[in-house]
Symmetry: C2
Subunit: 407 residues, 2 copies
Amino acid sequence: MPAFAKRMKTMEGSAAIIRGLFGSMGDPGVISFGGGAPAREALPVDIVREIANDVIRVGGRGVEALQYGGVMGLPDLREVVVSDLLAPKGVIADAANILITSGGLEGMNLLCQLFIDPGDVILVESPTFVHCVEIFEMFQARCISVAMDENGMIPEDLEDKIKKHSPKMVYLIPTFHNPTGRTLSLDRRKRIAELGSRYDTIILEDDPYRDIRYSGSDLLPIKAFDTTGHTVLANSFSKIFSPGSRLGYVLASDEITAKLFDAKTATNSHTSMLPQVICAEFFKRGFYPSHHKMICDLYRERRDTMIRSIDSFFPKGTKRTFPDGGLFTWAQIPGGINTTALLAESLADPDVRVAFVAGEGFFIEGNGMGNNCMRISFGSVAPEKIMIGAERLGSLISSKIGKQEDQ
Amino acid sequence: MPAFAKRMKTMEGSAAIIRGLFGSMGDPGVISFGGGAPAREALPVDIVREIANDVIRVGGRGVEALQYGGVMGLPDLREVVVSDLLAPKGVIADAANILITSGGLEGMNLLCQLFIDPGDVILVESPTFVHCVEIFEMFQARCISVAMDENGMIPEDLEDKIKKHSPKMVYLIPTFHNPTGRTLSLDRRKRIAELGSRYDTIILEDDPYRDIRYSGSDLLPIKAFDTTGHTVLANSFSKIFSPGSRLGYVLASDEITAKLFDAKTATNSHTSMLPQVICAEFFKRGFYPSHHKMICDLYRERRDTMIRSIDSFFPKGTKRTFPDGGLFTWAQIPGGINTTALLAESLADPDVRVAFVAGEGFFIEGNGMGNNCMRISFGSVAPEKIMIGAERLGSLISSKIGKQEDQ
C-alpha cells in the first residue's frame, strides 16, 4: 500500500481518543454521562414527520429537497439563521455571509482548509474539545493551549501566546464550554475580538451550546464585537433541532465567505437538502419557540438534578462547575484518583457501570493535566437515572478514597 | 486578514471554472444541456414522503433519523450497498468495508485526506471531471493527464506515466465517463487494476453513472479485479435516488477503511441520518427496481432523442459519442469553432439560448485542448425540448461555418 499522507500520522493521537469515546457509547446496561448527545426526548420527531408529509410533494418542496442545491445552502434556511438565531442575540448579519455546513464541526474543518498550512499554530483553550483538536491535527497545525479560569479563556495569557507564537487562529467555545461548562465573560469577549483584530489572527468562535441556556442572561457573542472581520462564528443546529441532521452554519466576512464557497464545493458540493428544507420549515412555521422552551425546561431539570446529586454523593473536596446552559459539568475529584483508571473500574464493576469522559483527553498538554477531572454530561439521562448514576459513581470514588485512608 | 493557506491558491483556476458552471445554471429562459443534474421527473418525491410518513416516528426510526449516528454510516444502508448495488454487479464486499459519504464527491476528498501530501501526483483522464480536479488541487496534488480513446483510459499511456511520475493515485470514471460518455473496456479494467497492484498506486474508481445503463451489458468494475486492495471504489446515490440527499459510498480495504473512519470523523462526524434512513428504506421496501426501470426508460428516450437530434441538426463533420448510459454525450464540432465563445454567443442570442459546457475546462493541459468540444447533457431536458435545443444550437454552429466559407 502506498504511504498515507503525513496528516494521517499527526492526527493519530487524538483520533485514538475519539475512537475510544465512540467505543464506550451505546451499551444499554450502562448509565452514561459520557456522550454529548441531546436527549432523545428533545428530538422533534413528530414535527419532522408533519413537515415532511406537508412539503415533500411535487408542487411543494419535494423536488427542491431531493435535487442538487446551492453550495452556500438553502436560501430560506440562511435567512432563518439571520432572523431567528442571530438577530435576537445581538448579531446583525446578511444571509450572503452565512454558509450552511454539514454539522457544526464541518465549520472548523472548512476554516482549516482556508487558513492552515502544516506547522501553523492554533491556540486552544486548556482544556478544549478533543474532536476539534483531531481536525486541527489532520491539518498538521501545532496546537498550543491558553489558560482558562472560571470565566473562560484568560485574555492576558492569550495575548502573551499570540505574541510568542503568531498563531493563524484562536479556537474557543465561549458559551457553556465543552468540556467544562464555563462561559466566557462579556468583557473578555470584547477583548478577545480586539486581540484578533490587533494581531491579525482569526478568532474561531464555536458556539453550539449558546441557544440552550437555563439560567442567567444571554451574553453577546465575540462576533458582535468584531469590527474587522477577524472573528468567524460557527454554530450548529444539533442542540436545538437535531444532531443527526448534520446542519450547522458559519458567519464570516465577505472575503472569507468567498473562499468558504470554494472549500465547501471541494468538500461535498453542498449540505444535504432534505434536512435543510425541513429545518427551514421548522423555524418558518413557528415550531422553534415552544420546542426551545420544552428542551430548556428538560435540560434545566437534568442539570439541577446532576448538580444536586454531585453535591450529595461525591466526596468532600470535589469541585464542579455550575453551567448556566449546555450539556456538561466538569468535576475535579480529590484523593489523587486517576479518572481514566476510575472509568475502567466503573464500567467493569457490575454495581456501578456508570460512564463519563475522563478529563485527561481534553488537555493537549499531555503531561497528566486533568487526570483527576471528568466531563459529566447530563443531557441524555433521565433525572431518576442521574441520581442513581451519581450515587453509584460517588460511592465508588469515596470507597477508593476510604481505602487510601485505611492504608 | 491573515494569509490564506497555500491550497486556496493552487485550487483557484479550477474553482473559477466551477463557479462559472454554477453561475450559468438555472435560467428558465435557457434550454440547458449544461448541468449534470438528474431529471426532476426521476426524483422519487412521493416515495420519500411515504417512507418519511411511515418511519419518522417515536418507536419507528424517528429517533435514529434525528440523533447522532455512527461515523461509517447507517448499518442497514451499508448492507443495502453490499446486497443491492454491489453483489448484482459482481462485487463481493463486506458491509464493514463500506463508508457512507455525504455525496459521491466526498469520497474523493477523503481519499485525498488519506493519501495526498502537497506535490504528490494524481493521474487523471484527458478530459476529466473538473470538480474532482478542484478537490485534487485543494490538496496541492500535481494532476497529470493520461490519454483516452473511445474505450477509455489507455493502459499503455497509463503505465508510461506511472513509471515516469510515481503517482500516489490514478483517478478515473470508467463507466459513461464525465464528460465524454465513454466506457472503459473490460480488458482495460483488468489491466488497470493490475497496474495499481504492480506499481503500488491507488486506483480511485469513481463510478456514479454505472447503475443507469440504457443499452449494452454491465461490465465488472475495476474493483472486481483488485486482488491487493489498491483499488478503491467510490459511488453515489445521486443518479439512482437523489442528488440533493448527498449520499455516496466508498468500498475500500480494511487498512484504508480504518483511516477513512478517522478522516470522516474529522470532516463532519458522519453523514446526515435522515436521508440515510429514508434511502435504506427505499431499497429495503423494494422501491428500487421499478424506480430504476422508470428512470432508465426516461433517460434512454432522452439519450436517443439527443443522439438523433445531433445527427440531424449539427453540421457534417461533427463527431459525437454514443453513451450506453449516464447523462452525457461529447461532441467535437468542425470548422475550428471555439466552444467557449460559442456558448457565450448561444446564451446571448435570443433565437438560440441553449447552454452546454464548453470542452476546454475538462482538460487540465490548459493548452487549448478540447476548445472545439462540448459536453452535452440530456438527462434533465424533456425530449421535445432536446429537439428544439439541438436544432437551434446546430443552426448556430452551421451558420458560423457558413460565414467562414463565405469569407
